[in-house]
């Protein structure tokens, strides 16, 4: 069995190249009010690395100049960056579609009480992690008390129209396996989430995305501590699905870190694997034409995107 991703691609006559830059995914910093066990960013309340206004202005300049369709804001908890609301407001004024990777509990931090209203006012697409519809699993992964707060946050989002049919306000939830196993079929588990959240709490949402845990950073530490590393990697490699390769997210997005450096995805960003050398390296040099055909920089973690039905920021891909 090969753990070499490039070799695996080659054995199927494939190579990984970008096709376009439809989305700019901006990680505005590692500061977060949570410290989840599976976090690939190693984010926590102790982290101090966050994007400055100057860099955020360069992001905005790139959106304006090249009319990028979607701005996908992530972190940490992106809302904790002091430039967050400014960047969202300016990007929306350009007509850019804005998605926020919102962890739900940040809504209860000081100064964030009106967050659901802010999202609604700017017609933001909200994407939120809820690893499971039961408290025990969710708290095991994301910390004690997170489930209860998350339920309350979804209630607030529903109250302003998020996840409610016909409102046009999208609330998509993210399922992660709580442990060293692969996610179930997206449509099957989505039906379970819808039924359980509705019957237990009267909550609604639009879509459920299943995302595979990446064997990097905090989740990799967990795999090592629990003696699951080899078994999990083997599982990912055995589940390699050549049909998932066309849908991996790096083919259509560029990821920006808090300093303005460019990467093929948020995972490569955390591993400090920058974009191919012959492509622009920073947001100041950003040029979607030069980035569109770039060769993607890969590693063993890429098996996480191509296992089974595949995994991306928008869930399963195949």
């Amino acid at each position: 069995m090969t753990f070499d991703f490039e070799q695996k691609l080659a054995s199927h006559g494939l190579e990984l190249r970008a096709t376009s830059v439809a989305t700019l995914q901006v990680n505005v910093g590692k500061l977060c009010n949570q410290a989840c066990k599976h976090c690939h960013v190693d984010a926590s309340p102790k982290r101090t690395e966050i994007m400055t206004r100057e860099t955020a202005e360069q992001v905005l300049a790139a959106l304006r100049r090249f009319r990028i369709l979607t701005l996908d804001l992530t972190g940490g908890a992106p809302e904790l960056n002091p430039s967050f609301r400014w960047l969202v407001t300016e990007a929306r004024a350009l007509g850019t579609h804005v998605m926020v990777r919102h962890n739900l509990t940040v809504m209860f931090e000081p100064g964030q009480e009106d967050l659901s209203e802010f999202f609604r006012a700017h017609q933001i697409e909200v994407i939120s992690s809820l690893p499971y519809f039961q408290e025990q699993q969710t708290d095991a992964q994301r910390g004690n008390g997170v489930f209860t707060k998350s339920i309350e946050a979804i209630r607030r989002l529903n109250a302003v129209g998020y996840g409610v049919d016909g409102s046009g306000l999208h609330l998509n939830l993210v399922y992660n396996p709580v442990g060293a196993f692969l996610p179930p079929a997206q449509s099957a588990i989505e039906a379970d989430f819808k039924r359980e959240l509705q019957s237990r709490y009267g909550l609604t949402f639009n879509q459920l995305y299943t995302i595979t845990n990446m064997p990097i950073k905090r989740f990799l530490e967990y795999l090592r501590r629990s003696g699951n590393e080899e078994r999990y990697l083997r599982k990912l490699v055995e589940a390699f699905n050549p049909n998932a390769v066309a849908g991996v997210m790096c083919r259509r997005l560029v990821s920006v870190d808090w300093t303005g450096k460019l990467y093929d995805c948020d995972f490569n960003q955390m591993l400090e694997l920058g974009v191919a050398e012959n492509a622009p390296q920073t947001i100041a040099e950003f040029d979607p034409i030069k980035l569109a055909q770039r060769r993607i920089v890969t590693g063993v973690h890429c098996f996480g995107c191509t296992a089974g039905a595949g995994s991306s920021c928008g869930g399963a891909v195949a």
Binding site: P177, F181, P184, A185, A188
Partner: protein, 109 residues
């Protein structure tokens, strides 16, 4: 040599070194049984888990515990399936008590 090795689960295919034709037939049938049909994959994984417990096969218990997780089941649901298997085993043993009763009555005054 110990009787059960965890790694043997991934070596299952080696059974097919002898009479590969039979093993291929078994695998085709086995795989086809797992797919979504009138029952969902998740329901089938729970049945697999229950049967694995009734048979007390450590390989199957490990494999179907993973299948249950990977088809979205939680420990409450899995434990209910295990109770079903155990209850039916228990009931099946108990109803044979009537055989014993019949046997005793047959020779009793």
């Amino acid at each position: 040599m110990s009787y059960y090795e965890e790694d043997d689960l991934s070596r299952f295919g080696e059974i097919g070194k002898h009479r590969p034709d039979l093993f291929a037939k078994f695998m085709d049938w086995y795989q086809a049984c797992q797919e979504d049909g009138a029952l969902s994959k998740r329901e089938k994984a729970l049945i697999g888990l229950a049967v694995a417990h009734a048979l007390q096969c450590p390989y199957c218990i490990d494999a179907y515990s993973q299948s249950c997780l990977e088809s979205g089941s939680n420990l409450d649901q899995m434990t209910e399936a295990i109770h079903m298997a155990s209850a039916i085993r228990g009931g099946a043993a108990l109803i044979h008590g009537l055989q014993a009763h019949n046997s005793v009555h047959k020779v009793s005054m």
